[in-house]
């Protein structure tokens, strides 16, 4: 038993006296990867996808029944991969039973969170996973059809997805009597038109209905009142695309990865000041340092040249190097460190970065993307942007800093949707970890 432990790649972990090592997260093998055509090296058509294991035993999965599918997804522990991290099986169980209205599954492919570029790879190179995922998830939800809302800029991705859907229809995998299961299910692609706020589920539904993308007040939530007033479940591309493999290989297989409450695998997008920016699928709870050094070639200039990392997309508070040294990439550890997992989009900044200017650029983004519906966000994001610009230019005062801090309180939790929170959280992170740098930039 001791020799078995000693053979484990324990890295910096130490063998404790009880001969139990800390579990090492992040050694995912290719045979446990879900998205095996992530880089598009292989045939993305339905034939190629079937060779890689897609559409195997789909009819048998459907014949297991809705309750079984929902139970498996719950047991797998998968949490929404679109940023909110809500347990997917639980979200599905919110759909009403015995409702006379038709139900819909809506897929959120409005990938707009700065730093995030993972769903794009699925749409381009592994779209059959999403198509099969829509069928199986839609069946579990009792949905009549699925609408995949893809951001309008993704023209190539929309074409790739439409081709995948057309092929699935031709092969009788979806449509009438999908896979010979007796279940009828349609899938449609719907384009967005350049609005980050449409990534919010109710804004997305509004946009799907032909309106402006202004979020609805919740409750009621989409399972009670969604698309065209019908029960709707809105899920991320990666979440739904993972479902067929989870159902085929077993919830316990998926559950074996990652820490408790943070299970499974994740596609990480790594950008910024690394030697090899990339997209990679890895195990949940992998240490951030391991992820960057193993797959992204490390921080440029070496790990000690690291200044800060935004760990989950622009809406997540920034983390300074000393936290990045040890933090794990999962929901719980990042929350413990006053940040969040978000979409797993890692933006790395080295010591050459003007951190205040970087966060100010994000403030500009949120001010631009605010839908304008509620006052704290509409006015707050503009104020945050102008105050940050003032500070970046070296014209900010102590009074401006105090106003900026008060804006965080005024906006956070007081808006119709999370865009308001997302706009002030980067400022919160900046002031928590880089307050000295900000104060040095003030004129008084």
């Amino acid at each position: 038993m001791l020799s078995t432990f000693l053979k484990q790649p324990i890295g910096q972990e130490r063998l404790v006296s009880s001969l139990v090592t800390k579990r090492f997260y992040g050694g995912l093998n290719d045979n446990n990867r879900i998205f095996t055509n992530l880089y598009g090296d292989y045939d993305s058509s339905v034939t190629g996808a079937m060779k890689r294991g897609d559409w195997q035993q789909t009819k048998n999965i459907i014949s297991k029944g809705k309750e079984w599918i929902i139970s498996e997804i719950k047991k797998s522990g998968i949490r929404g991969r679109g940023g909110a991290g809500f347990p997917t099986g639980l979200k599905w169980s919110f759909m009403p039973k015995n409702d006379p209205r038709p139900s819909y599954l809506v897929i959120n492919a409005d990938e707009g969170e700065p730093g995030t570029c993972k769903d794009r790879q699925i749409l381009l190179n592994d779209p059959q996973k999403l198509v099969e995922g829509c069928l199986l998830s839609g069946y579990a939800l009792g949905a009549k059809a699925s609408y995949i809302y893809v951001r309008g800029e993704f023209k190539k991705e929309i074409a790739s997805l439409q081709s995948a859907i057309d092929q699935a229809y031709e092969h009788n995998l979806i449509g009438k009597n999908a896979c010979g299961s007796g279940y009828d299910f349609d899938i449609h692609v719907h384009p967005g038109a350049g609005a980050y706020v449409c990534g919010e589920e109710t804004a997305l539904i509004e946009s799907l209905e032909g309106s402006t993308g202004k979020p609805r007040i919740k409750p009621p939530f989409p399972p009670q009142f969604g698309l065209w007033g019908c029960p709707t479940n809105v899920n991320n591309v990666e979440t739904i695309s993972s479902c067929p493999t989870i159902l085929r290989r077993g919830s316990s297989w998926y559950n074996s990865f990652g820490r408790k409450n943070n299970h499974g695998t994740k596609i990480f997008s790594i950008s910024g000041h690394v030697n090899n920016p990339c997209v990679v699928e890895e195990e949940m709870s992998i240490p951030l340092k391991t992820l960057i050094e193993k797959h992204a070639g490390g921080v440029r200039g070496g790990w000690d040249n690291l200044l800060a990392v935004i760990p989950g997309g622009s809406s997540c508070p920034v983390l300074p190097k000393n936290i990045c040294d040890n933090v794990l990439m999962d929901y719980d550890d990042l929350e413990k460190n006053n940040s969040s997992f978000g979409t797993g989009a890692i933006i790395v900044m080295d010591k050459s970065t003007d951190i205040i200017k970087s966060i100010a650029r994000l403030s500009k983004f949120y001010a631009h993307e605010s839908c304008g519906q509620c006052t704290p966000c509409r006015e707050g994001t503009i104020w945050v942007k102008s105050l940050m610009d003032k500070i970046v230019e070296g014209k900010g005062t102590k009074k401006d800093l105090k106003l900026l801090e008060s804006l965080i309180t005024a906006v956070k939790g007081n808006t119709i949707c999370a865009l308001g929170d997302a706009a002030v959280l980067p400022i919160e992170g900046l002031l928590r970890h880089f307050r000295k740098e900000v104060e040095l930039r003030l004129i008084d």
């Binding site: 992530l38 880089y39 570029c117 090899n276 990339c278």
Partner: protein, 227 residues
């Protein structure tokens, strides 16, 4: 009366953008518009995706279709779309004004959209933007005198691992550097469409130093026994 309205609008606290938008829209009301025969087939295809009583869901796809056909969306196109989906013109106008992809007036032959959000800036988007501005002699929001290029600044385009990203006529050009953008612009100036995607030695967002995962062809994995 019209000039009085226009002056009042200019004096109001509306943003510069909505002033330009409104006055330019008034000019495009009378621009003749109808979908081409081929595009009418696409109109039918679009409408068939939604329940018959929910035609308004087709507004955004139809606005895209009109813009692909004309290069921008004249107000006359919005009126046509309103009649197709059977809703007030104001509804189509409201939706049109909300989304950043829709253009209210004609643009150059080629539209250059450069992302200046964080991941792209960290990888050198500022240098690429300066190179574009120097080469074409225009700033963001402007069109070259020969109407060849319009330069726009956009937010995150969803390709951050292959930043910097420049989108030209809807095509993504990634891993762009000063050298590659100059070559791309030279091609477009001759109305040649250069190969889109990454402008580096990698094919997509795999690590440029070599893949660390999926190095060999994947195969179907063992399925659970109770299926």
């Amino acid at each position: 009366m019209l000039s009085l309205c226009q002056n009042k609008i200019k004096q109001s606290v509306s943003t510069k953008l909505s002033c330009r938008l409104f006055t330019s829209l008034l000019e495009t009301e009378k621009v003749p518009f109808d979908f081409t025969q081929d595009n009418y087939e696409k109109v039918e295809n679009i409408l068939s995706k939604y329940p018959t009583e929910q035609k308004r869901s087709a507004i955004i796809p139809l606005l895209h279709l009109a813009q692909d056909q004309e290069g921008y969306v004249p107000e006359s196109a919005m009126m046509k779309i309103a009649s197709i989906v059977a809703c007030p013109v104001s509804k189509v106008f409201e939706t049109f004004t909300f989304y950043t992809m829709f253009r209210p007036k004609p643009v150059g032959d080629h539209v250059i959209e450069i992302c200046t959000n964080l991941s792209c800036t960290l990888r050198g988007a500022d240098q690429v933007l300066n190179a574009i501005q120097d080469k074409l002699g225009i700033k963001i929001g402007e069109t070259t005198k020969d109407n060849k290029f319009t330069l726009l600044e956009v937010e995150c385009q969803g390709a951050c691992a292959t930043a910097p990203v420049v989108v030209i006529d809807g095509n993504y050009y990634e891993d762009v550097e000063v050298k590659s953008i100059n070559s791309i612009l030279r091609d477009f100036a001759r109305d040649v469409v250069p190969k889109s995607g990454t402008q580096s030695k990698r094919n997509g967002p795999e690590p440029i130093g070599g893949k660390t995962t999926l190095k060999s062809e994947p195969w179907a994995q063992k399925i659970r026994e109770d299926l």
